[in-house]
């Protein structure tokens, strides 16, 4: 290294900005950004499609059960209370997921939720029949949850507690309804059971709870 190299010279003019590089980075960032949303949208849309198939199958199955019942009457041996459990649970999960991804005011989600509520009621009646006519210890819980900002925290906690109760007791059937959904069927249920506030739990059609602190409070009425 010679001495002149270590002397200070006038600096060379800075290279101009590489606009091509910036443009490429912007394009790739935009594409990656869109890709992220597309992947999540595609997954959510696949779920939306799957729930449609699930609901169609369930409609068919519940109708055949009804016809079967009309043909042979209330046959307790033919009755399987757990038959639609996993389908109901899958549907509930998917509706919840769609609501989170597309928003609770999305038309598609609302439509699916209404059909889901209808199927839930149909299943609820099916289980009620079984419970009453076959003298089996099945329990039904209707849960009128709310997604409104002020209620969502409590609603989620109640939902999780009820899920826990269901996990520990297979004879418990839970039916969740959106308290704020403008649906004639839900309104009828609310009227019938005098549900006047969100996040209300109705056990076996007669015990009404509007506040629960733990799973034992629910189990108490089930084990009674």
């Amino acid at each position: 290294m010679n001495k002149t190299e270590l002397e200070l010279k006038e600096p060379e003019k800075r290279k101009p900005m590489n606009l091509e590089r910036i443009a490429f980075a912007l394009i790739l960032a935009s594409l990656t950004f869109v890709l992220g949303f597309m992947i999540s949208y595609t997954v959510s849309y696949t779920q939306y499609k799957s729930i449609q198939d699930l609901q169609d199958n369930m409609k068919y199955d519940l109708l055949s059960v009804q016809i079967e019942k009309s043909l042979v009457g209330n046959s307790c041996t033919l009755f399987n209370p757990y038959r639609f459990s996993s389908e109901m649970s899958d549907m509930g999960f998917t509706i919840d997921l769609l609501e989170k991804r597309f928003g609770k005011n999305d038309e598609k989600v609302i439509e699916k939720k209404k059909i889901y509520s209808l199927l839930e009621v149909q299943h609820f009646l099916y289980i009620n029949d079984y419970r009453k006519n076959c003298n089996k210890s099945m329990h039904t819980i209707l849960f009128f949850y709310s997604n409104e900002e002020n209620d969502i925290g409590q609603g989620e906690l109640f939902g999780r507690i009820l899920n826990y109760v269901k996990t520990t007791n297979k004879n418990v059937m839970i039916y969740s309804f959106d308290y704020n959904l403008d649906d004639p069927l839900i309104n009828t249920l609310k009227k019938k059971y005098n549900i006047i506030q969100p996040n209300t739990i109705l056990i076996d059609e007669n015990v009404k709870l509007t506040s629960i602190k733990n799973s034992e409070e629910v189990s108490f009425y089930i084990d009674k």
């Binding site: 001495k3 600096p11 900005m17 890709l35 992947i39 520990t168």
Partner: protein, 412 residues
């Protein structure tokens, strides 16, 4: 609004990731300068020291171990009015050719300037006295870069010396992260922070533009910005590796960051004209991105933190409601796993998180390759991911409060 800001920060992050990648790839095949053994320039290492009795001996030993022609290497220790035995310890090395000066306390800048005034070298290296460990070959690697007449400063690779405890482990990843970043910045002459621990400068720059600012708490940062402001180059030598001992106590670390960030704000305000097209990509993208990332952290991190605390509270409430019978509520079936995966992949934020972790992994791979040693950083990475953003935001919050209240920030 928060959602919008969150996605905006993700978009900017993606843009920067690609931008840095292109810059990095643009110079991968560039030939590295070779140190000319026959004509080595005279180099002066200046070690300013104030109350460094614990680390000064190690630092001097490390400087003496540097592989450089002895006749061409001058080592100066400037005791900045220490009240402990720093000066006495430094004097013990006089017989090994170390020049030792002492002066009344005036700050690191004054000690460095005294060293510069006594230096015979054409290249000045500033070296921190608090346990700085220099790889012997580092200086030759750095000096080689001065064969480019535009280069005024050479910054090395900085790594944490034997990290212990959570704080040092977090800083270890932060420093490793900086290795690739500094290389990228170097490729477009956008280095705006040079390590105070060990950086090399052309003395002729000090002769023309003056020495270190004496009342500046981040005099190294001010110097880097001054070099950029005057249109000269700062390059990074990825072969020169320096290890530094980082703070292991929260209070000490906070004080260091308060000084760094406070200094950054004040010096960037002083050289605000660097934020312009005249300074190329550094002025238009890199410096603004640094400011924006701090602003985003100040808004988004507290939000995320509060949200996480509320989620934890909800989780605790739930666990309490089921008498902590966690295993009864877990159903590990394929449906459960399927649902969990579905929930994850249907959220775009998870996709971006995967990209973030991939980039982090690439940064670490590059750093490990440069350090040429087998680092076990798994635990450090976990601590970094868990706590760094929160710490970074906290440091910034406190630094900004200090600036706004105009409170004095001291070295120690």
């Amino acid at each position: 609004m928060i959602q919008f800001l969150m996605y905006l920060s993700i978009f900017i992050g993606l843009f920067l990731a690609y931008f840095y990648l292109f810059i990095f790839l643009s110079k991968t095949k560039e030939e590295k300068p070779i140190f000319e053994e026959k004509k080595p320039p005279k180099v002066t290492i200046i070690i300013p020291a104030f109350n460094e009795e614990k680390g000064i001996a190690t630092t001097i030993e490390s400087a003496l171990n540097i592989d450089y022609p002895k006749k061409k290497l001058e080592i100066i220790v400037v005791d900045d009015g220490s009240k402990d035995n720093t000066y006495k310890i430094a004097l013990q090395y006089k017989n090994k050719g170390i020049k030792v000066f002492t002066k009344p306390n005036g700050g690191k800048g004054t000690a460095l300037n005294l060293g510069i005034s006594k230096a015979k070298g054409k290249i000045i290296v500033t070296m921190d006295a608090d346990n700085t460990h220099v790889k012997p070959e580092a200086l030759k690697q750095m000096v080689a870069y001065f064969s480019n007449p535009d280069v005024v400063c050479v910054a090395p690779v900085m790594a944490v010396y034997e990290p212990k405890g959570i704080l040092q482990k977090i800083q270890q990843v932060e420093y490793l992260f900086g290795i690739l970043l500094r290389k990228v910045f170097s490729n477009i002459n956008a280095i705006h922070v040079t390590p105070g621990a060990f950086s090399a400068y052309k003395k002729s720059f000090f002769d023309k533009f003056g020495g270190f600012e004496e009342n500046n708490l981040t005099e190294d940062l001010e110097m880097a910005l001054r070099i950029q402001y005057n249109g000269y180059s700062i390059v990074n030598s990825t072969e020169a590796i320096i290890y530094t001992v980082t703070p292991n106590k929260f209070g000490v670390l906070l004080k260091q960051r308060r000084r760094w960030y406070g200094g950054l704000v004040k010096n960037l305000a002083k050289y605000n004209s660097l934020f312009s097209k005249r300074h190329g990509e550094m002025g238009v993208i890199i410096l603004p991105a640094a400011v924006i990332s701090v602003l985003f952290s100040l808004i988004l991190t507290p939000y995320m933190l509060i949200k996480s605390i509320l989620n934890l509270k909800d989780e605790f409430e739930y666990l309490q409601s089921i008498n902590f019978q966690v295993f009864n509520s877990w159903e590990f079936s394929t449906t459960f796993i399927e649902r969990y995966i579905l929930t994850l992949v249907s959220d775009p934020k998870i996709f971006f998180l995967v990209i973030f972790f991939t980039s982090l992994a690439l940064y670490m791979i590059f750093a490990k390759a440069k350090l040429k040693e087998s680092l076990n950083i798994k635990l450090s990475l976990i601590f970094f991911i868990l706590f760094y953003t929160t710490l970074f935001t906290l440091w910034w919050f406190i630094s900004l409060i200090y600036i706004m209240l105009n409170r004095k920030i001291s070295w120690r």
